[in-house]
Symmetry: C2
Subunit: 298 residues, 2 copies
């Protein structure tokens, strides 16, 4: 899959062809701050779906160093319990250094797994940046995970993740503070306005599920909540597909432009045609907004 | 400042003029996962600089809902202790809904404070996305904050933040697990390769500082670490300025392109010239990579 997500020309042709065979998988985005136990939850969620005979793909998106383009300590050893199960495929994706490309890689990995017949694809992301929202926007269902003890529950979720959630999970639900976190979230869901995505019907409030992923607790409830999202009316699903397509395409456009702009600037050793523009910004004789417009208009 | 960061034409002209008067402030990016106590640390860091007579600006960047373009529960009440101090200016910035614009807004806010003579500008960001790395890349010094008890310390910092840090802070340093976190981080710094930014000399390992921000502990050490970064040789500073300019311009280019691409697609109710392209992706008759290329080439 390395060739595919590197965007090599031959691989791109293969992906284009393959894309017509996608759209059957149920793609679930799982996001939340570091430390809430996302990996453990993903690991636990594989179990009931495997028991039902579904093949499960996991794409763990790992925003990483702007230098090395790889995770700092390499892929963590994870999901040992599924290591010998052919029906589970796990792939970690890291950003490609300064060229970005995270959305492109993720879209490619999901498409390959989908076309290969994996019925459930879990896309695990860390953090709250634009890329995360894009990736989440491309999923059929979005699970936002939190846990007691991350500052206050409100702060840990303030980044708009509550709004994009179809299912809200309080993991580590046996810890001190879990009851309080659930109560806080219930209140937040009551007082906050739930916006509709543009052109779509107002969405129901997200299901709130307490889990102890490490002990497998709450998993049946999580599966039921996900399946309820999957069973949405056909018209809603069609609108969602359109929104997913928009999110995917916009994210890839951003990445393409960024890579082109960086190439136009060049580095200190290989200055590009716009290197002087950057020098002027660094010297404060040109402002960054004007510089960006020049580059964009190129 | 609302007009400025909305990018209105008149405001843009003002910003362009104003930009020539910037470059005197010491801009410090402070980043880390939710719940590590960034706001408390920022609040505490204001104190010693104010005691030295420095005017301090705080820009709290708040990635937020893709729907409302505002923080979910509005700006939190914060920094009460500095509320009556004219030498402290605090501004929260949220994303502008689906148009993005976070980097543009942040760059504008920092420029205004810089030109207005604020000697220290603290830019507080949550999360680990590309926008965060861009914003951090535009700072004169980058402080990465972690805290004990966020899963394991390694996971909380795996997102490449360790690599961009000039100063690494373990906040809540009086908690259980703080010693372990400091030991883990020391080990990580020893075994991990510290890459140079392109065209720059290899960077020294980040200073490691333990703080209890809520009690003001560790602040003198943090100030000393920051001032050591500020005192870098002139050649290093010049390279850093160029890197900052690149990060700012690339981030703004991404935002401009994204907004243009979204306008070209339109919404369900106001379809743009590329709406059919999105329909084709949603119907799986066109793949998202080809769609993105069409939009980019427009």
């Amino acid at each position: 899959m390395r060739d595919l997500d590197d965007g090599a020309p031959g691989a791109r042709a293969a992906l284009t062809e393959l894309y017509a065979h996608t759209g059957r998988a149920f793609v679930v985005g799982i996001t939340g701050a570091p430390g809430v136990g996302k990996s453990t939850l993903v690991d636990a969620l594989v179990v009931p779906y495997r028991a039902a005979g579904t093949r499960v793909g996991v794409v763990a998106v790992d925003p990483s160093s702007p230098f090395s383009g790889g995770a700092l300590l390499g892929d963590r050893v994870r999901m040992q319990r599924h290591a010998t199960d052919d029906g589970v495929f796990i792939r970690s994706l890291a950003t490609r250094g300064q060229l970005g490309g995270l959305s492109r890689s993720t879209t490619a990995a999901v498409a390959v797994l989908d076309a290969a017949g994996f019925g459930l694809i879990l896309v695990e992301t860390v953090g709250v940046g634009q890329a995360e929202v894009d990736i989440a926007g491309a999923a059929d269902a979005i699970v936002v995970v939190t846990a007691p003890g991350l500052g206050d529950g409100v702060q840990a979720l303030k980044a708009g993740l509550l709004e994009i959630a179809d299912v809200l999970v309080v993991n580590k639900g046996d810890r001190d503070g879990a009851d309080l976190a659930l109560r806080d979230l219930t209140t937040m869901l009551q007082i906050s306005t739930r916006h509709a995505w543009p052109g779509e019907a107002p969405r129901p409030a997200p299901a709130l599920v307490r889990t102890v992923a490490a002990a497998g607790q709450g998993l049946p409830e999580l599966v039921a909540a996900l399946e309820a999202v999957r069973a949405a009316p056909a018209a809603d699903r069609a609108r969602r597909r359109r929104r997913q397509a928009t999110a995917q395409v916009l994210a890839i456009v951003s990445e393409i432009t960024r890579a082109e702009a960086r190439a136009a600037i060049g580095g200190d050793e290989r200055p590009g045609p716009f290197a002087q523009t950057i020098d002027a910004v660094a010297a404060r004789t040109l402002d960054p907004w004007s510089a960006a417009e020049r580059l964009s208009n190129r």
